[in-house]
Amino acid sequence: MAFSIFGIFAVLLEFIRPFLPVFVAVIIIELVLLAVAMRKSGLSSTLGALKSTMPIGVIGFIAGLLFAPWLTGASHGNLAGILDWLSLVGASAGLGVVAMLLVWPPLALLRRPTA
């Protein structure tokens, strides 16, 4: 059973639909914070703040590795083979990236402008 790109997007839209207002609100807030940060401190300082979020990303990645199976109602004992372990690593990496992106705009705003 083949899935088109639009089909995949359609499924993702249905998945986030219950949380869409929160999702959109968070994105808007983050973008506004990012814009304010760039206006205040400039692009290079704002981008520099992204580097500072890496520890958060690592924490998110480790948290994913430890807790993702439990969050899905499973346990690490249910993981079988390369597919499951790669999926866990990939999902945890994704969680780390999301954590970094969420923390980035407020961190950029609080950061002092570089000279």
Partner: protein, 453 residues
């Protein structure tokens, strides 16, 4: 200070911070692309809708009916599309096994048909009590006669509890009786019985109705998840679990059949072959099975009842049903060409979903594969062309073997495995198919209702 004009401001900005402009431009392009994709999904229209004033009636607003309504609404320009179903509530039936085994709450599967009925579709809130394809008409239970040029039958099926002597749906949730079909109330009451059984122990009888049933994996999933729950609770040694198959097999797909025939004994689940449930004595906690050696009565502390299933009477008693042969005997299912989904005797009639008599495929996954074929072929017929789309029998069952693991089983009319994702083995239990079943399949189902997948 003198204010710069806009063009001066732009030049200054690009000089002062060229990276900022490139970043913003890229972000804008990205957002624009996402918006277009999102808008395309939210308001999808085909490249060219067929202009027609055809009158199309769709009977049944379940998964197949709503998906058909949405696809036809997009594919046709000017058609009169009428949907007939009394039910306001829409149930995500693939979630019922998860409710019955304590993994989901009942509310998770409850939705509203109104959310999915397209605006340009007329919805008659009634049931069809008579099909009269010789005059291209259906009659509702309120006496309304609805004429059509084309008919799509998506009624779903009827649970025949009356075929089990002493059984009725009111007994579900009492006297150790459970049944995962086919609403969340039954599933919730079944969970109460499973919960009690896996705590107190005793003899558990697990059954499967003969012939065609919807989600043939559900009786097996209930069995395995009940066993898994007992293991996790540390009460497994208190349970004697017996699966009663009405035939000599557990699953139509041979590889899965073999897997289950090895898995059940490994998990100390006994199997009775050729045991068809024909009667139940609730107060005595006793069930009667028809076997080749005559009736056998078994006592139980818990019994999972799976009734025989058939087409709704209005359809089964109509000329649209198979008039002879296995599908007639099995459940008076609707007659359709197994590949085109078109009725062979009434070419302006199509069918999809649980009501059709095809060798396999009473699952949501089958609906997902059948409806695009039925719609495409209907549109071809309306346009005066030959219906060329074909359904290959695709069906799927995320066979949950324990909490946290499932096998993503997908096969076709040839009973060959046809995995959608080549990296997910259809022969092995994995965590990923469990996540798909528990988290993502409902989203895919909803996208299907909207005609988008």
């Amino acid at each position: 200070m003198k204010r710069r004009n806009d063009s001066q401001a732009e030049r200054v900005d690009s000089i002062v911070d060229p990276g900022r402009r490139r970043l913003l431009k890229a972000a804008g392009l990205g957002l624009g692309s996402m918006s277009l994709a999102g808008a395309g999904i939210i308001a999808s229209t085909p490249a060219r809708a067929l202009a027609t004033n055809a009158r199309i009636v769709i009977v049944g607003a379940g998964a197949a009916g709503l998906a058909t309504a949405n696809r036809l609404s997009s594919a046709l320009d000017g058609a009169s599309i009428t949907l007939i179903d009394r039910r306001e509530r829409h149930l995500y039936q693939p979630g019922l096994t998860l409710i019955a085994t304590g993994l989901w709450k009942a509310g998770t599967v409850i939705d509203s048909n109104q959310r999915y009925v397209p605006r340009n579709v007329d919805w008659i809130h009634a049931s069809v009590s008579e099909f009269d394809p010789d005059v291209n008409q259906v009659v509702t239970d309120t006496g309304q006669r609805v004429d059509y040029d084309y008919l799509v039958v998506t009624t779903g099926l009827h649970l025949d509890f009356d075929a089990i002597e002493g059984m009725n749906p009111e007994l579900i949730g009492r006297e150790g009786i459970g049944c995962v079909y086919d609403n969340p109330e039954n599933a919730s009451r079944t969970w109460e019985m499973v919960d009690r059984y896996t705590t107190q122990g005793g003899v558990g009888l697990f059954t499967r109705g003969p012939g065609g049933i919807k989600c043939a994996g559900a009786p097996l999933k209930v069995t395995m998840l009940t066993e898994d729950l007992a293991q996790r609770r540390g009460t497994r040694d208190r349970l004697q679990m017996i699966y009663n198959s009405p035939s000599a097999g557990l699953f139509s797909q041979p590889d899965m059949d073999q897997f289950l025939k090895e898995e059940f004994p490994r998990r100390d689940i006994d199997i009775n072959w050729h045991h068809r449930l024909i009667g139940i004595e609730p107060e005595q906690h006793r069930a009667t099975f028809d076997t080749p050696d005559g009736p056998v009565r078994l006592d139980y502390d818990f019994i999972h009842v799976v009734p025989p299933m058939r087409a709704p009477d209005a359809l089964g008693n109509s000329p649209l049903a198979w008039q002879e042969g296995g599908f007639a005997d099995d459940g008076n299912w609707m007659e359709v060409d197994r590949h085109s989904m078109q009725h062979p005797r009434y070419p302006n009639v199509f069918g999809a979903g649980d009501c059709v008599g095809t060798p396999i495929g009473k699952t949501a996954a089958s609906v997902k594969a059948q409806v695009p074929v039925a719609v495409e072929n209907l549109v071809s017929v309306i346009a005066g062309a030959e219906p060329m789309a074909r359904y290959d029998g695709y069906t799927s069952c995320p066979l949950i073997t324990s909490r946290g693991q499932a096998i993503l089983v997908e096969f076709d009319y040839n009973l060959d495995m046809v995995p959608s994702f080549p990296f997910i083995s259809p022969y092995r239990e994995h965590w990923v198919p469990w996540i798909m079943k528990d988290k993502f399949l409902k989203a895919a189902y909803n996208a299907m209702l909207r005609g988008r997948v």
